[in-house]
């Protein structure tokens, strides 16, 4: 598992190190994603700040209202007190009492609102003390008035202490008001600034995302254009390649024809001097016989004249020389004929027809029956897959192969030859000729397919043509031949042919 992860990481880092379209796109998309996240975050912060701001403003206003309320209650209380002092009517006292009863609640609210605000708190404390003192002054005058000393009570009002206290409170409240107003203004400025910042960040991010999108579009477009160009280039190269292949094939066919023509001409022109060598060798032989007869006559009629050396020369040396010349020329003629045959075979126009291989190979096996029976050998032909090909070539090939198998059986054991075959997956057919004959040494596995080359003990007639011819033939049909063999154990020849031979205009496999 961890190995897998490491593997993935390695692949990923390799991906990152390699400049590619994928890497560029991934980079740009990551960047865009980061930008969006930043915008998101900024917006979040902004919303938080706005909420905070709203709350602050709310408190500012409430502080201002509460402070005013405190003053209002005191003014109400003062109004009630003064009415009572002036008129002595009890209903004014009710107004006063109500205001005095409400004052602590209003004061408490102001306390609560400013609990965590030392700057305002200080003023609220002072305000509370002033209010208490003011109430005390009021109470004193009312108490005096109640006890019938109205003059003393008015005197207290006249002293002006109450007005002083009220003015001081008004100052405090104005101060609180100012503080809260200033705060409100600064908060609003902050809020406006952060709103602008948010808008700015949003706008910037928007522009960046648009730019990234533009870059991505440009990269993709460029990539597509490059692909298109590469595609055209590939088409062009392919077209060129086809032309080149055609040219080369043409060259090869011409070269092949040239070689065949060359072989044909050479073998003809080589035969002409051979005819002379052979003919005049015979003439010499004839002449030798004439001389021999003449010598025989001399021998009987005048033995003294007879030289022993001359007799040996005429009766032994000359016939021996002639014998070697003749054997060599005959061999040379066979070799030339072999080249001629190969060259002719190479020029033969192939045909293509469906062939029942089991029947064809069976017939060839029957034709060697008398040889195999004499040697106590057996040829077994399994059910063979058929093919469409050149009948004559295939007959010659299998004839050669079976002849060879019979020819090179090991006399020490009963010969077993088996021919089997199978269809291969790639549109080819494979046939195997398996024998338990004398086998072929490793170093000769290539050589045996060469012209005039033979392997092992040279105890069988032949010029080393068969396999060269077979290979040539199989190659012409687009097939191949190989050998598997161990010396002294047997050989297996593996022949492959296309299931269907297509013959082109010039009669070769295509």
């Amino acid at each position: 598992m961890s190995w897998e992860i490491r593997e993935n990481l390695t692949a990923f880092s390799r991906f990152l190190r390699t400049a590619s379209l994928g890497r560029s796109l991934l980079g740009l998309l990551s960047l865009a994603l980061v930008l969006l996240l930043a915008v998101n975050l900024a917006t979040f912060v902004m919303i938080g700040r706005t909420a905070e701001f709203n709350e602050t403003i709310d408190r500012n206003v409430r502080v201002q209202v509460a402070a005013r309320d405190v003053l209002t209650r005191l003014v109400d209380a003062e109004t009630g007190q003064r009415g009572y002092l002036l008129t002595g009517r009890q209903q004014f006292l009710t107004i006063h009492d109500e205001a005095v009863r409400e004052l602590p609640m209003v004061m408490q609210e102001l306390d609560d609102l400013t609990a965590s605000d030392p700057e305002v708190r200080e003023r609220v404390d002072r305000l509370r003390n002033l209010a208490r003192e003011r109430l005390g002054v009021m109470d004193a005058s009312i108490t005096l008035a109640r006890s019938g000393r109205a003059g003393d009570a008015v005197q207290i009002v006249r002293d002006g202490r109450g007005k002083e206290l009220m003015d001081a409170m008004r100052l405090e409240i104005d101060a609180i008001d100012t503080i809260e107003s200033e705060r409100f203004a600064s908060r609003r400025q902050q809020s406006e600034w952060s709103a602008r910042a948010t808008i700015g960040v949003n706008a910037m991010a928007g522009i960046l995302v648009l730019m990234l999108a533009g870059i991505v579009a440009w990269i993709v477009l460029r990539y597509l254009r490059e692909m298109q160009a590469a595609h055209y280039e590939l088409d062009r190269i392919n077209a060129n390649l086809e032309n080149e292949v055609r040219d080369r094939t043409g060259d090869l066919i011409r070269a092949n024809e040239e070689v065949q023509r060359f072989a044909y001409i050479v073998s003809h022109d080589l035969r002409a001097p051979l005819v002379n060598v052979m003919g005049y060798t015979s003439e010499l032989e004839q002449a030798g016989k004439v001389i021999d007869r003449q010598m025989a006559k001399v021998e009987t009629e005048a033995p003294d004249l007879m030289e022993r050396d001359a007799l040996v020369a005429v009766r032994e040396d000359v016939p021996e020389a002639i014998g070697f010349i003749r054997a060599s020329t005959e061999k040379m003629d066979r070799l030339i004929n072999a080249i001629l045959k190969l060259s002719r075979d190479g020029r033969r126009v192939l045909s293509s027809e469906p062939i029942n291989m089991t029947a064809m190979v069976g017939k060839i096996a029957d034709s060697v029956n008398h040889q195999t029976e004499a040697a106590g050998a057996e040829v077994e032909v399994a059910e063979l897959p058929g093919l469409t090909g050149d009948r004559l070539s295939l007959e010659q090939v299998f004839s050669n192969m079976i002849d060879n198998a019979v020819k090179y059986l090991d006399p020490k054991r009963p010969g077993r030859i088996r021919i089997e075959g199978q269809d291969l997956a790639d549109g080819m057919v494979e046939y195997r000729i398996i024998d338990n004959g004398r086998g072929i040494s490793d170093r000769d596995h290539e050589r045996i397919f060469e012209l005039f080359r033979r392997s092992g003990k040279q105890d069988q007639p032949g010029e080393g043509l068969g396999l060269a011819f077979v290979k040539n033939s199989i190659r012409r049909m687009g097939g191949d031949i190989a050998v598997e063999s161990r010396l002294g154990e047997g050989s297996t020849f593996i022949l492959k042919f296309p299931k269907r031979l297509y013959v082109s205009e010039n009669g070769t496999a295509s």
Partner: protein, 141 residues
């Protein structure tokens, strides 16, 4: 009264020419033999007035000549109104079936492959000798 058949041998290889001649002589044929080593001089001779008016002919023709192909000569002979009746024996190293067929198509009378085995060659020439002694080459008018 018949004039003896004259043999015209067109053969570029002097060795072959000599061997053929020897074998013809050995087969007891004593007709005059005229030898040409190339196609041009042979045609010149064959188409000269003297030859055309002078008795029957038998032509021995080699196919591989330096200056032209034997089949060209054969074609010329067989397309001439007077020479076409002269029997033509092709003597060549080629045993190519297509070529043999072509020679017969062009009107050659006998096709002999020069074999390297001398015995069969001599045999062929001897048979040619027999052939020569048996046939009555038609008169050329």
């Amino acid at each position: 009264m018949t004039t003896p058949v004259k043999i015209v041998m067109i053969e570029d290889d002097h060795g072959h020419a000599r061997l053929i001649e020897k074998n013809i002589r050995r087969a007891n044929i004593s007709n005059a033999i005229e030898h040409f080593a190339d196609g041009t001089s042979a045609l010149e001779h064959l188409f000269s007035e003297a030859v055309l008016t002078n008795g029957p002919l038998l032509i021995l023709l080699d196919l591989n000549l330096p200056d032209m192909s034997g089949t060209d000569i054969l074609e010329k002979i067989k397309s001439d109104a007077r020479l076409r009746r002269a029997p033509v024996v092709i003597l060549t190293t080629t045993d190519d079936k297509a070529e043999i067929q072509r020679c017969y198509d062009l009107g050659c009378n006998v096709y002999i492959t020069k074999p390297v085995e001398y015995e069969s060659f001599s045999e062929a020439i001897r048979q040619l000798g027999l052939f020569l002694s048996v046939i009555q080459a038609p008169e050329i008018d």
